[in-house]
Symmetry: D3
Subunit: 315 residues, 6 copies
């Protein structure tokens, strides 16, 4: 293997030094020899409440500098098993959702075609629809594993199809998702309609609400996810508002009653054997994150995503 | 029924649009046909540490815009069963506690006389004494259900009877509360005297400390409350510092060792069958709430209060 | 005159009390008897750097509460001469620029048709194109008086016609502006091209750069504006980034080398005899305004706009 | 002289070290041998808009640590000519204006009786009435030199005599001020009534508005003050909102169109030969001062006050 | 006993009044009759990521003002059993680690020699090495009880022996710690090397990771600590990043997956019978603590330290 | 010329996209064909008050994204005349001043040896001594042009030679500066000693105080600088606290009475013909810069530095 990409060593170079790529990995756009690629999608045009997620990728990169390479929970130093790079950001078009979807789809597909696993940093949750189009083009409909407090399966807002509350309605209608092996986890907050999370269920998804998850615990939740996916190739999307606002205030549409950082990481640990072909982490909005705790948590989640890829590569 | 008041629909009008009433309910001061009335009491003169709660009502209204009308925990869309309005704020007199008490008492009494349930947004906790005077005038002494980290039953501070640490001493001395059916929940923090929460108990109140509540759990706590109130008409006051500062930093006098937003909402759910004749939510101070998570939690608690009224109306 | 709308009196009702309309004016949507109407356009989809101006109208209303009604600079209590109301916000569609333009145009036109002067609160600067379409439909091409640090006359960004950097290129191409009597004031910052502000001049506008304005002074600048407009009916648009970031940090795209609040108000005073048929104040982004000084300055500028209308009404 | 009080030397002890007294002067309550005494009055009960000035004294002390002892503008190291101490704060009674006035009057009088010049740190501007009562008891009516953006000569708010908008109406009615030698400087903002600053003039005060001061310049303003005072013993009160919000955002009731820190210090330099018997600096509210620039400016103003005392002592 | 030092009574003097010593205890540097002495070490030169802990002691003192003297968890009013004072800060030398170590050692040793228990407020965690040198000189190697998310047992960073990641490696190599009775609790985060916490174990320490502690619970953790220490005299160091960032955002190097404030206080309660000869609380960085919740939690932890001393004195 | 380095075009790629190098210039460490090199020195160990300048380079890079390439004041698009790159940061050693000086000296010398002009981003002002050592090794003693509010010519602090208050004392003693052609501009604040700025003058420097500069104006100040330097090769160092805190709050040691952003840029324009061989911009501390106005001003100053190099190259 010609290339050998590693994070900068914080014992030699202080963590606050250097150009801010994810974990100070090399900034590389040629994907030869690359196994996983971090790529930012700084798009927040589809946001229905507090904008600002366009600065999410930069915030996550900033705080990722303090992460050390050996991932205890996943029991692996991912970077010894594969090459990970930071490709920078996609040049999305602020103000234009459908044009941006095309850009996201094309860029993601290139990463997938190069044999690398894309790990996208949002941006608002609308961006996932573009990624799903690319993933389905490459792999066919994937099992969809969705951590969030909102289902994002409304059909339209304000008479318009596309916003960050609608992507999965459209993904399902477009046939991008293997609904029978798909699941939404962490759902909570009040609703527009009395029928609970029936909309998602009508679309064919399994739903584990936050309330149920609080009752059954992390381990049982992880088992339910693993069972639902049932070994299929998966797409994993993580909206940071899955986490409680105390642990992740820096996002556009907070919901109380969420999960702690410990519970979040335990849950990811519980699904570490998923075979994920594409990841994203969305909705970090740094202007609501005065102590940067949200961005740091997000960076740790991305570090777990990298480990999930590495575990497959290391097999 | 002539009037039919509803929140603005967030699927048609973006949540950040419009004049900031609670949940974008109509701003109405004529209480004809009104079942529950939100009213702000922006008074922080009686604060002994960090002032700022005079901006609490505005902060809660701001963040209430993101709440959807169907309350899952309470299993009701309150607005389909009754009329709720936002009456705006009382014109209290900053700097003058006793004059303000008179204003609060008069305004609350008008709401009660009109047959509506007042849901007051503080302001510091001193305001509750004014509300209790109105409630007792209307209903006689009510069962008093008090969520807080402090008992607020000190007799005086700095040689003065009235401040936000003393309202319930005076309420009891004035005979406004049916102490035998009254309870304080969440008490913690260090004390002036070694006798624990004896002061409150000497006044006839039951006390569940935070420590005890952490040990026995939410469900048992809710049962203790229901048993104590025993079906009596109640007054419910909620000081946001009941919640842990991680979940509710935006308040004047924080105490560590509190409860999460999930535990808080579960507890409210557990007492949802209380017959509450007047509510308040106090001590939100937005200058200590940089990501607005406190105001949003407070808005959700108020949404639960509305649901508690609606459940009675829907019976 | 049936209606008589006044701000709430701060000597009777504390400034922090009440529902947050502009200067606590009545919230009224029926424009009968209304001379000037405040209306929010909380749209920031067309922003090319820091989003957040969707919260601008709310922030300006919040801080407007401290303004007293007699405007010394303009020597008038506007509210004794005419009716001013706050109409709330337009229900724009976040994420959709052209649909929103239609909404803005329609809403503005209704205000103009009702005989009231619209005073719009942005939102990013893209919204002005919608307003100009309405104004031209009502009045024909108006003299255009533009305070800003940027010309906003680029033809397109990212291959797209509409964003907050392009509205006046399109306004001129659409024939909405009487360019011969139009002027841009305060221009500064570095440029994409070496030809200075030739683009604007090629489009027929007069330009006074910040540098020139610093040299010639406020009075001469005001005279240049008055001379350019030459008594024609005008449209006045004010981007808060005209002001230096020290005085107005809370905006998306700051430029150093701007003007103080004193210079700004003196300049407005110097053009107080303009016959303005529609105003806007745009680009206030409160998440970059920690001490609310930008919103307060913006509220004062709007107060001057009101006075400019009142002076005409009082003639 | 038994005592010899000096600030801690920042070349030996880092500025961030030690208990936070003003300029790290000794904390001393016995006024023997003391020439000037810093004393905090952390009272904000009389505030009509944004509370928080109760934390003003602590904020000013914090930032005073970086001031070096030789005052260039005043050309003196005050501490070589006299003893200055920090007495700590008065134990005011939050929530109770008139009781607090008595405490302020008594404490100030004690300082004056001990032969020391009190330099009080507010607190809101209401506190000055208490100080003026003490000063008049000791010295008879003093020439009153008032830097502010507001006259604070309204007779009452909300039907009440005392708040931070009324102290000087009452001071004059109580005969505490020698109005013929008194002056208000920096007045601006809009008003309740069209008669400009007639109220203050009717009470016998001279007024220099901000607008006039901007026109005539700092030097002429200083001359007007010196001429008005005409060598009489004076009381000097400085409301930090005299300064423009760009330079002093951290205060409750900002007004645009104010003065820079340079202009402020030049003006103080221009009146350095006033014979001031008591000073205060009021209305610093640190929760609106995220970078602490207001508190630092306030500390420098207090340093100038000290120098004005020292210049008299050094004569 | 000649001296009798007590905190100021918050029922008589408002909590925001007065010079900011810890709990408004007397500022005393003569240790006659003193049982426990609070002393600040405002040193952050050895920080490897976010600096700012030099302002930690001041922040903790500020928020300590709201603590009442009777400690419920520990069931004692410490101040009735012994004298506690605030000695102010050590005059450390910013920028110079080894010189500062000498100062810390000397100052701590003086406190110990005077028979008082030092309770040091950091500063970054490097300062503990200086304290340990003093403690070992006085008492010989102590049992070392270490609450933190990091082991701080790396041998060097950037080729240098001393920084806040290395103090305990050197303490052990210098023989300052009785490793057989020493324990590290709360360890988490990713690592440089795959061998888990082997480094610490190789040095002879017992380690309880955060993950293990989450599994076994607070009570079992406390028991493990008590068993390890086995009645030996101890040194207790508490890095605030032991606590989860949701509860303690204000520190330099946050780690997710930590403990709540309730769990933290329960754990301290569980080890309240340790015989601790010297304490510290380190790494509070107030610029990352916008609502001051970290500083307040830290102040409560220090209050528990005082109680642990008092319980021994009260025996 | 093989290489051709340009900033990313903001009309094609939104400014918030991409890896954060200065103006989104290429990140390049091979200096072949490079004319000017941006390099960060994230070192704040030598800070005597508020630390945090280690995050200065990252903050300046972040805000530089909004700068357009044609510099109006300097009348040049620098990037059409030469190659500019961002080299990233030097791996300084936090906590170790003298070791870091060696690293700075070596790295700067390499840039100079490669024929490029170093433009260093601090970091605290101590770093300039390392740069001066490199510059003198390459060019001999240079004319020293120093914009600041402090002279930084104290010989030692706390008994130590090196901190950010002492670099120029040592630079002169080491013979690194051609004092006869050197000048300090903007000096203000109070002093330790009564002899004004005699220390600097005794060392052979010319000093223009802020007070003098306010009196004589920008143009005369620029002329004084040009005359003093007299065509000699120069080293230009700019401490952001030269600017008033209203315009540049984000720095460690603010001084009131400084200059506006307009005055600052005019002054740089006035000295644009200096022949500068090395530049730095120091002391940006982003945690005190909530709206990022300081970082943006700093980025503009650096843009002017680039233009000054380009003007020489373009000759």
């Amino acid at each position: 293997m010609k290339n050998d990409y590693r994070p900068v060593d914080a014992l030699a170079s202080p963590r606050f030094c250097g150009i801010k790529t994810f974990m100070r990995l090399p900034y590389v756009t040629d994907l030869t020899d690359v196994d996983a690629a971090i790529v930012g999608i700084p798009f927040d045009t589809a946001t229905t409440y507090r904008t600002g997620a366009r600065f999410g990728p930069a915030a996550i990169r900033d705080m990722s500098a303090t992460i050390r390479p050996f991932n205890i929970d996943m029991n692996i130093n991912s970077f010894e098993h594969m090459n990970v790079v930071d490709m920078g950001d996609m040049n999305i078009i602020p103000g234009y959702i459908e044009d941006t979807y095309k850009i996201i789809e094309d860029q993601c597909f290139k990463v997938l075609e190069a044999g690398a696993v894309p790990i996208c940093l949002g941006g608002d949750h609308s961006v996932t629809l573009g990624e799903l189009r690319a993933a389905a083009k490459k792999h066919g409909p994937l099992a969809f594993v969705h951590f969030d407090s909102h289902t994002d399966t409304v059909s339209s807002y304000f008479g318009k199809d596309y916003c960050h509350g609608t992507p999965f309605y459209h993904a399902i209608k477009e046939g991008l998702i293997d609904t029978k092996h798909s699941i939404q986890v962490g759902m909570r907050g009040n609703l527009y309609e009395p029928n609970g999370f029936q909309d998602s269920e009508d679309l064919g998804l399994e739903v584990i609400t936050a309330k149920e998850m609080h009752k059954i615990g992390i381990e049982a939740t992880a088992e339910r996810i693993m069972k639902r996916v049932d070994g299929k190739k998966a797409f994993l999307t993580f909206d940071i508002d899955f986490v409680d606002p105390a642990y992740a205030p820096g996002t556009g549409t907070i919901e109380i009653g969420g999960f702690s950082s410990y519970e979040t990481m335990e849950l990811l640990c519980g699904v570490k054997d998923l075979d994920v072909k594409a990841f994203d982490l969305v909705e970090v909005a740094p202007m609501y994150d005065p102590a940067q705790i949200t961005a740091f948590l997000a960076a740790n989640i991305v570090h777990d995503f990298i480990a999930m890829v590495a575990r497959k590569r290391a097999d």
